[in-house]
């Protein structure tokens, strides 16, 4: 802004908006320009402006693509597994694979991730194995969460991926706090928080962005705007220019990205990370994408959207196809490799799947552990009561599917 001194002098006394100038024109702001959507690839996977191609090395590109295919394959098999009653619940990431892998590739494993529940790809890219995914979904004795949460509630300290919690939006302020702590430690790392456009309606979203901005915390908020919160379309979720427009309100660096363009996601997250870590400022990214699958296995989206709408997205906007075309155009991929990869991935997923299915549930004693760091006396008493009941009524407390408890 020009004539800073002049305007600042006139603005004295308005502590809440120090850059504002006085005007004698009665005018309500109504028409805000729509924030553009950054992209690198067109829908055919061609680079539009060569200067925007991040020119990632072959290994990184291959890993991104392989993870997309693996995620997609795992989703298909686990979704069907739920349908067959073999696991209790599942949520697919269909249509959002690029936003996962583009973001994940731009981060380091020191960056702390807070997911909502549809970011399995980020964890996969970090190295969480198919076995680890399956163990969680099967709630077996190797599930890090000890069988306590529903499927897809992954989490592991090993990859700095905080355990998923079902309530929406609660993770956003956590990410701001973790980011602040990283800054205090002097770590060259940031916190990264994923959430949907529906969750952005929760009070915690507003609380998180404001506290992150005022504390200058190195956090990247990544909204996956996939068009639907269960049945509620984005147009009933908010009336502004998406979620990105809110960044301005919190004084936050903001960008809207084509979430189905893995390279655009990569560039945006890479730069956001630089801003967060180097300049200690929070960043808001809105990734525009589409939830191709149902909300979850408890949902049938044909009750509120047309099958044609879904089919159009799948056909014309598949983030996987777009990325594959980019790789093919660069001679990094071909049909032969595609077939081989898909065959291999399917084999590996099914192998992990049947291995996880064979394992026992966690030991019953894990019902009482971890409520606190140490078990308080009242809980020890309740545990003893359950032991008594299980001994007295073994036919009512069949624990043969559970691993042996050491303490009961």
């Amino acid at each position: 802004m020009g004539s800073h001194g002049h305007f600042r002098a006139r603005g004295r006394g308005r502590l809440g908006a120090v850059s504002s100038v006085y005007t004698e024109k009665l005018e309500f702001l109504t028409n805000y320009p729509a924030i553009p959507t950054y992209r690198v690839l067109d829908v055919e996977g061609a680079v539009i402006d060569e200067s925007q191609d991040p020119k990632l090395d072959k290994a990184t590109l291959a890993r991104m693509y392989e993870c997309m295919i693996t995620l997609n394959t795992m989703d298909t098999i686990l979704y069907d597994a739920q349908r067959q009653g073999r696991i209790s619940f599942y949520m697919t990431s269909y249509g959002e694979e690029a936003s996962h892998m583009g973001a994940a590739a731009a981060l380091t494993n020191d960056d702390v991730i807070y997911g909502q529940y549809r970011e399995a790809g980020v964890l996969m890219y970090r190295g969480f194995t198919l076995e680890e995914f399956m163990n969680q979904c099967y709630s077996n004795e190797r599930d890090y969460g000890k069988g306590r949460q529903m499927p897809v509630h992954y989490g592991t300290a090993k990859f700095n991926f905080q355990t998923i919690s079902s309530p929406l939006g609660t993770q956003l302020p956590h990410a701001a706090g973790s980011a602040y702590a990283l800054k205090l430690e002097g770590k060259k790392a940031c916190a990264v928080c994923f959430f949907g456009e529906g969750a952005a309606s929760e009070g915690d979203f507003h609380a998180a962005l404001n506290i992150a901005a005022t504390t200058e915390s190195p956090v990247i908020f990544i909204c996956r705007n996939n068009g639907y919160a269960i049945s509620t379309p984005a147009k009933e979720q908010y009336r502004g220019d998406g979620i990105a427009s809110r960044g301005h309100g919190y004084g936050m660096d903001t960008i809207r990205v084509d979430g189905n363009d893995a390279l655009a996601m990569y560039n945006a997250v890479k730069e956001a990370r630089r801003i967060a870590v180097e300049e200690s400022r929070p960043v808001l990214i809105e990734a525009m994408t589409y939830r191709v699958g149902h909300h979850s296995t408890s949902d049938d989206s044909s009750a509120y959207r047309s099958k044609q709408e879904v089919a159009d997205w799948q056909k014309n906007h598949s983030p996987i196809t777009r990325f594959r075309k980019y790789l093919e155009a660069r001679g990094l991929w071909n049909e032969e490799q595609e077939q081989a990869l898909r065959k291999d991935v399917r084999k590996r997923v099914l192998k992990a799947f049947s291995a996880a299915e064979k394992l026992k549930k966690p030991p019953v004693e894990d019902l009482f552990n971890d409520v606190y760091d140490e078990m308080p006396p009242h809980l020890a008493e309740q545990k003893a009561e359950l032991v008594r009941l299980m001994k007295k009524y073994p036919e009512h407390y069949d624990a043969s599917d559970y691993a042996a408890s050491k303490s009961m």
């Binding site: 069988g147 306590r148 949460q149 529906g198 929760e202 509620t232 408890s298 009482f368």
Partner: protein, 356 residues
Amino acid sequence: MQGVNESRFIKNTREQALANPELAAVKNSETKKLNLYQAVNEALATALATDEKAVIFGEDVSFGGVFRCTMGLAEKFGKHRVFNTPLTEQGIAGFGIGVAAVGHTAIAEIQFADYVFPAFDQLVNEAAKYRYRSGNEFNVGGLTVRMPCMAVGHGAHYHSQSPEAYFAHTPGLKVVIPRSPIQTKGLLLAAIRDKNPVVFMEPKILYRAAVEQVPVDDYTLPLGKAEVIKEGKDLTVVGWGSQLYVLERAIAMAEKRMPGVSIELIDLRSILPWDIETVTKSVNKTGRLLIAHEAPQTGGFASEIATTVQEHCFLRLEAPIQRVCGWDTPFPLVFEKFYVPSAIRCFDAMERALKF
């Protein structure tokens, strides 16, 4: 849910349904077969049809809601009266308070009781105190907040909770939990028409499990009134919601294994205010009390009942009051059958009370 279809508390015929003296006002009504979610839908449709100021809103209610409770209502009564809100429980509760504060009827849905906590401030600090703090200048009696609650078999931490005790600790709110379709229609209509804010918790495992012949006519059932659903002389058992069917099985076990024993079962129905008279009258008759709920034991509503009964019936008690509740842990996915106050646990406690 095990035992619901065979339950003696489920009214399968019109005659059984209308034999209830509380339904005397509609004793000539036709009945129709409804499950619990359909009974909710029926009550909501009745509320909209009989009160032009009534509106229904919440996440995904427009297409019928994730449990189909609001199905067809937007089409029938208009999108201005049945509508989706953004995904914000505090917004839904606060919006409902505002609707009610100017004399309209707000029927809000929270998608799961587990997700009510962002709305806790609005319900506890605002809705509950609205009348009192204004010297009765204002009130939000027109507010009803519905939410599915209790265990469902695979809900884990966040699709299983029974947060009635948190709200029971809030003067100014009413808290109601129905057990069956007939009860649901009458209690929900009563909650909507009550002149106080009501938290209405629906045991979601019953939505499709329980089917009854529900009177077609408009009726209400009393809030603040428990119902003795099975008479007995040796032990009083108190529960609510889907736990009643667990207790029914436990009682059958106990009465079979201890010939001559008879056990009284009370559906508390209203958690706040609760029917002290019916419960204490029963305990003064039987001399023994067992309370069961899925929510964790410590600070659960059983504690309140036990204390009150101890005050009122001290000299009559013949055994320590038994509480059979969820353990003091979060609600765990794979350990659900070990966590819940199952029939065998309830039976064990019944035996303990009776043999004390």
